[in-house]
């Protein structure tokens, strides 16, 4: 079935069993992102400590892609050095913008490679990116340095 490319088992699993869901204290920065075309929402909180993402908590409302993406984001960046987390963010953003032509970087992305198929559905890319956009914004609000141009952070 053609839909398998989009709704990978990993994605459906994260959707049914979201990891680390719920907003937690303390946090250094919070970002609320909305997709105006469908009303999907996600709030991401980030706590930075000693150059690592000590916690990423989130709450959201929306389609399976947007909510699974937030769950995968939590798994991929929580407890990781900020530089690595931002590298994963860059790799994910690149993957989503690649129209299905970008070879996913498994080492950096972990479970997030499951979203590779989403890049072939232009209408759904925003859903996948919502939490990741919120993550980057929350890092900036936490006082973290983000090289938006894509260089090393």
């Amino acid at each position: 079935m053609q839909l398998d490319g989009l709704y990978q088992e990993i994605i459906l699993d994260h959707w049914k069993h979201p990891r680390g869901r719920g907003l937690r204290e303390p946090y250094g920065g919070e970002s609320h992102q909305v997709n105006p075309t469908c009303g999907d929402e996600v709030t991401v909180r980030v706590r930075l400590a000693d150059g690592t993402v000590a916690d990423l908590s989130y709450e959201g409302l929306g389609c399976s892609i947007s909510q699974a993406s937030a769950s995968v984001l939590h798994e991929q960046v929580s407890g990781r050095p900020l530089a690595e987390a931002l590298a994963a963010h860059r790799a994910f953003t690149e993957l989503m913008g690649g129209r299905g032509q970008v070879e996913p970087d498994e080492e950096r992305l972990g479970d997030a490679v499951a979203f590779a198929g989403v890049a072939r559905y232009p209408a759904r890319i925003k859903c996948a990116l919502l939490a990741w956009v919120a993550f980057q914004d929350a890092v900036i609000r936490s006082g973290g340095t983000v090289d938006v141009a894509g260089g090393a952070a």
Binding site: M1, L3, C38, G39, D40, L61, G62, C63, S64
Partner: protein, 427 residues
């Protein structure tokens, strides 16, 4: 001797013959036959419309209202003929009461702008607004019939009020006399809801508006394409609708307005074609509708819309309406069998059109739409540019199937089968 005509039900629509007129309906989508259930968003176009647009560019292309040459004359005649066809289609007393716009949104904004310009420039008192004056809309509106009035009220100090929606998706007119009072200058509301499918009553609202001296604008974007609409009979002052939802091209819509009101309104966009004479100090303006049609208009699109109303008239709008009612009633019954499905809006065919919005428990509309699309079934998902309606029913988004003259019953079956697949993927 006058023959007495007894009203006969329209002959049933030959859906197979209609479908043969729409080339796009034979294409596959994702390996499946296309099941197009998104006509409330934009309708498909029959071959005669595609042909009329191509023919216009291929044989008659010139600019309108300013050329003495043959092509310009042919283009002008075609453009004005299209206006006359549209006027006849909606029962307008005169073609000059039809103003071509880009779409319904522009038609509504044109009226809102007239209020603003009259307020600032001391125009006709019926269009002047100030603190204490009111504009009344409804909770059922498309954003295009909310935002222009919010902007207008912010800019003039007037107050925006609205009719609420009942639990079964009807307009709540129980407070009509309180909401529409002596300070109300305009009542602007939707004839048929683009999200609930509800067809709203006009008589009581128009009667109350007359009583208090308010004008009435009806957003007929979803009603004009789907059944006979007679603007003279509706009793409203303005009617807005758009071409692309009624088998016509994008980029062309219309505002119908009473001649006397159009004459009293200040111009909209300034520029070529809308003037009578121009000096460096000031200008005087052409009569309506030209007064509101500055610049080169969408000529080929107007010609296409003319061909669209020709097509719909040939099929017969009574037959279109009867067909859609039948398909809608079938769909309401069929969707009721889907576990976890909740319909927003009227659940019987009474005073409703072929638009059905629903929620499938536990599955987000985006996911519903995606799985349906994989099976070739095209529906719309989201808030349908009517967020307040979603908020009213406590959801962020809905899935919406909408029907037109080319949708047979078995496409409803395809939808229901597709929903079973959705439940399997997300079960």
């Amino acid at each position: 001797m006058t023959a007495i005509t007894i009203p006969q039900p329209p002959p049933p629509l030959d859906v197979a013959a209609v479908r043969a007129d729409f080339p796009i309906l034979t294409r596959p989508v994702n390996g499946h036959p296309l099941v197009y259930l998104d006509s409330a968003n934009t309708s498909q176009k029959p071959r005669s419309v595609l042909h009329a647009v191509a023919e216009h560019y291929a044989r008659h292309n010139g600019n309108v209202s300013r050329s003495v040459h043959t092509l310009g004359t042919e283009a002008t005649e075609a453009y004005e003929a299209a206006r006359a066809k549209v006027a006849r289609f909606i029962g307008a007393p005169a073609a000059t009461e039809v103003v071509f716009t880009k779409n319904s949104t522009e038609a509504i904004n044109l009226v809102a702008y007239a209020f603003l310009a009259a307020t600032v420039g001391g125009g006709d008192p019926r269009f002047r607004l100030g603190p204490g004056d009111q504009v009344v809309i409804s909770e059922m509106e498309h954003h295009s019939n909310i935002v222009p009035w919010q902007l207008l009220c912010e800019r003039t100090g007037a107050t925006l009020r609205w009719f609420p929606i009942t639990d079964d998706g009807r307009l709540d007119l129980s407070e009509l006399d309180r909401l529409v009072d002596e300070r109300t200058k305009l009542v602007s509301y939707v004839h048929m809801s683009n999200i609930l499918g509800t067809i709203n009553p006009t008589d009581p609202v128009v009667a109350r508006a007359r009583q208090v001296g308010a004008l009435v604008l009806l957003d007929c974007s979803q009603s004009v394409p789907h059944g006979p609409v007679d603007v003279a009979g509706l009793g409203a002052d303005f009617v807005a609708f758009t071409g692309h939802k009624m088998c016509g091209p994008t980029g062309i819509g219309a505002l119908w307005g009473r001649a006397e009101l159009l004459a009293a309104m200040p111009p909209f966009l300034g520029g070529g074609s809308m003037i009578e004479t121009v000096t460096m100090e000031r200008s005087s303006y052409a009569p309506a509708p030209m007064k509101f049609e500055a610049g080169t208009p969408p000529i080929a699109q107007a010609v296409g819309l003319g061909a669209a109303v020709d097509y719909l008239s040939r099929v017969d709008m009574h037959a279109v309406k009867a067909h859609e009612r039948e398909v809608t009633e079938y769909a309401l019954a069929a969707l009721a069998t889907v576990p976890g499905l909740r319909i927003f809006g009227p659940t019987t065919g009474e005073d409703r059109g072929g638009i059905i919005s629903f929620d499938l428990a536990g599955v987000h509309p985006h996911d519903v739409g995606q799985v349906l699309d994989a099976g070739g079934v095209e529906v719309r998902v989201g808030h349908h540019c009517a967020r307040p309606v979603c908020a009213r029913f406590g959801v962020a988004a809905t899935t919406r199937a909408s029907f037109y003259l080319y949708n047979p019953r078995d496409e409803v079956d395809a939808l229901v089968q597709g929903l079973a697949r959705v439940r399997k993927v997300f079960g």
